[in-house]
């Protein structure tokens, strides 16, 4: 298995110094993305999932401070690389797709130019080769008449097309890993499914690792192999798709699953679940379980030792002293 590990992150924390105190954006996160597998990171906005991805890509905002015991890509220790050496990997062996395709492309350059420069930078190839590659990939991501599109500017394309361009960009150098941060959130509902399908197909075909960041467990359910649920900067539960949906253990995971409507299954008048309360401020003290103020099972101990990791079976673990569901009481 180790041979197939693409991205491995151990004990990652990100802190941001604000005038009002230190914001613990990410606390002690462990992640592993495997070749040919889709890892989904799920949580509400502000839970630290994007920060985790940016940290792995070394794209954090300047004020952010990062600490980690390990960040490695296919065995290479990324922490040891200089900024210059790192930039030779970004866009090359690991690339990223952002949430808003409307603003993620440079408005003043044709998209062909924006695709080609990646290839020219990392492959030291001439413009002709880069152009061929760009055209091929635009075709692969389902854009009709790619040659004509290369000369167009971003504002001339629809949102769905632009996100396809972003995907083509990410593929320019055959990366081992693609991180897609809410890739469908800004798109029309009808386009969302297509783009997701496309990502999944490409991931299988190019045999890459895909990290999919989403706030929507329902979206993730369709294409994720493994899922990490994040809350307030921590991974509160992680497991295979089957484990998470079959035996959700953390009260928060359970709450998220209750929020998903199932067409045909959810009875008409059933009230969809919602999780009461608000996400706590992540500024200042971050000991104890951060979900305790919204949790129906909270008790005094949650304030101090709610964060210890517990393992249910191979690949399925959670951080809670009061696991819910069928396992209640059975946990250590």
């Amino acid at each position: 298995m180790i041979a197939d590990s693409v991205l491995r992150v151990r004990d990652l924390s990100v802190e941001i110094a604000l005038p009002s105190g230190t914001l613990h954006a990410v606390s002690n996160v462990d992640l592993e993305a495997m070749r040919g597998e889709t890892l989904a990171i799920v949580g509400e906005s502000g839970c630290g999932k994007t920060m985790t991805a940016l940290a792995a890509m070394r794209l954090l905002p300047r004020r952010a401070r990062l600490a980690a015991r390990e960040i490695s890509l296919s065995g290479t220790d990324l922490r040891a690389l200089s900024d210059k050496a790192f930039s030779a990997i970004r866009g090359n062996r690991m690339s990223m797709i952002f949430q808003d395709p409307m603003t993620s492309l440079n408005p003043v350059y044709p998209i062909g130019d924006q695709l080609e420069e990646i290839h020219m930078r990392h492959r030291r190839a001439g413009r002709r080769r880069a152009r061929e590659r760009a055209e091929y990939l635009l075709d692969r991501v389902g854009i009709v008449n790619p040659r004509a599109r290369l000369g167009q500017f971003p504002h001339q394309l629809s949102g769905g097309l632009r996100q396809r361009v972003m995907i083509a960009m990410a593929l320019m150098c055959d990366p081992a890993l693609i991180v897609a941060d809410e890739p469908t959130t800004a798109l029309d509902v009808t386009v969302q499914a297509q783009v997701l399908r496309l990502l999944k197909d490409l991931q299988a075909e190019f045999n890459m690792a895909l990290i999919l960041i989403s706030h929507d467990l329902g979206v993730v359910a369709r294409i994720a192999d493994r899922i990490a649920v994040m809350y307030a900067g921590r991974v509160v539960e992680t497991g295979s798709s089957g484990q998470i949906f079959g035996a959700p253990t953390h009260p928060y995971t359970r709450g998220l699953i209750d929020c998903i409507p199932y067409p045909g299954k959810t009875a008409r008048r059933t009230r969809l679940g919602s999780i009461p309360g608000i996400v706590p401020s992540m500024i200042g003290d971050s000991r104890g379980c951060m979900f305790r103020n919204r949790c129906g099972w909270a008790e005094d101990r949650c304030r101090t030792d709610g964060n210890a990791e517990r393992r249910i079976e191979e690949g399925h673990s959670y951080r809670c002293i009061h696991p819910v569901g069928h396992l209640q009481g059975a946990a250590s």
């Binding site: 309360g277 608000i278 305790r292 103020n293 919204r294 949790c295 129906g296 909270a298």
Partner: protein
């Protein structure tokens, strides 16, 4: 069920906006120095007759062009020396501050009232009214300010009142541009729609909802325009078309010192430095007010 045991645990007491501003003001070095300097100049100007060593108009032809205290033959009788008519230079500079401040303040108030009115009306009513406002702003921008000021001053004379009026009515455009766009933004917000729905009159909405939102912008621009008016007055007086002698204005002092500048450079250096530092201080104050009043997270 609204959460469990710890439902209230994470509530944080956020400081009020006023507290935030006060805290920022106390830490803002530029704002503190600028405001301090401006206040000092204002006090010196107000109390000029009492703090200055002599009469600004008293000539002494036996003591002409005396060097300042650091030059040769300088004495404490005339700490900054004397001008070509033997008048005490420190006194004349102190009295000159009165002219600069009066004109700067007066012109900023007039241009602020004119410009903000135009801008708010345009931004609030939109449509044709706004088209007229934009047209007025465009005409104003196309006119070369200094040339117009020079021409008008040469026609109407360089009295204090005339200068204040001319400068006031010349530099309202920045107020109009900014208040117009801020008003447009505020106008589109829900609380204005709510006020309208309740049947509040236009005047009431403008006074209660729009004005408080544009006020901080108006103050920032006013400080900028005050500095500009002070500079323009100095130019006009320097060119002989503004304040007329023997009244001491910094621009006029520089103009009078110009014929002696090659061997008595301090005659132009001193009033110029006074002008320079006053304008810097006003700008620092204005920049400071902007930094202090912007919402959190928006840098300078």
């Amino acid at each position: 069920m609204t959460g469990g045991l710890f439902a209230d645990e994470f509530r944080v007491d956020a400081p009020t906006p006023r507290e935030v501003m006060r805290r920022r003001a106390r830490r803002h070095l530029g704002f503190l120095t600028g405001t301090g300097f401006v206040l000092a100049v204002v006090l010196l100007a107000v109390f000029a007759p009492w703090v200055s060593p002599s009469d600004p108009f008293a000539q002494n032809l036996d003591a002409r062009l005396l060097d300042p205290i650091w030059g040769k033959g300088g004495s404490w009788d005339h700490p900054l020396g004397t001008d070509s008519l033997g008048r005490d230079y420190l006194t004349r500079i102190l009295f000159g501050a009165r002219i600069s401040l009066l004109i700067g303040f007066g012109a900023a108030v007039i241009s602020g009232v004119v410009g903000s009115t135009v801008g708010i009306v345009g931004g609030y009513f939109g449509g044709r009214v706004d088209a007229v406002v934009m047209y007025l702003i465009n005409v104003k921008l196309a006119l070369p300010g200094i040339l117009i000021a020079l021409s008008l001053v040469s026609v109407f004379g360089g009295s204090l009142i005339a200068l204040i009026a001319i400068l006031g009515f010349l530099f309202w455009d920045r107020f109009a541009v900014v208040t117009r766009s801020v008003t447009q933004q505020v106008r589109g917000q829900e609380f204005v729609a709510a006020a309208e729905a309740v049947g509040a009159s236009h005047t009431r909405i403008v006074v209660q909802e729009i004005l408080p939102n544009v006020m901080s912008h108006i103050i920032v621009i006013a400080s900028l325009e005050m500095a500009i008016a002070i500079l323009v007055e100095a130019v006009l007086s320097f060119l002989g078309l503004g304040i007329q002698p023997p009244t001491p204005s910094w621009g006029l002092l520089i103009s009078e010192g110009r014929s002696f500048m090659f061997f008595k450079p301090w005659l132009i250096a001193l009033p110029g430095l006074a002008l320079f530092f006053l304008v810097i201080a006003i700008n620092l104050m204005g920049d400071g007010i902007r930094d202090i009043t912007v919402p959190e997270g928006r840098g300078r």
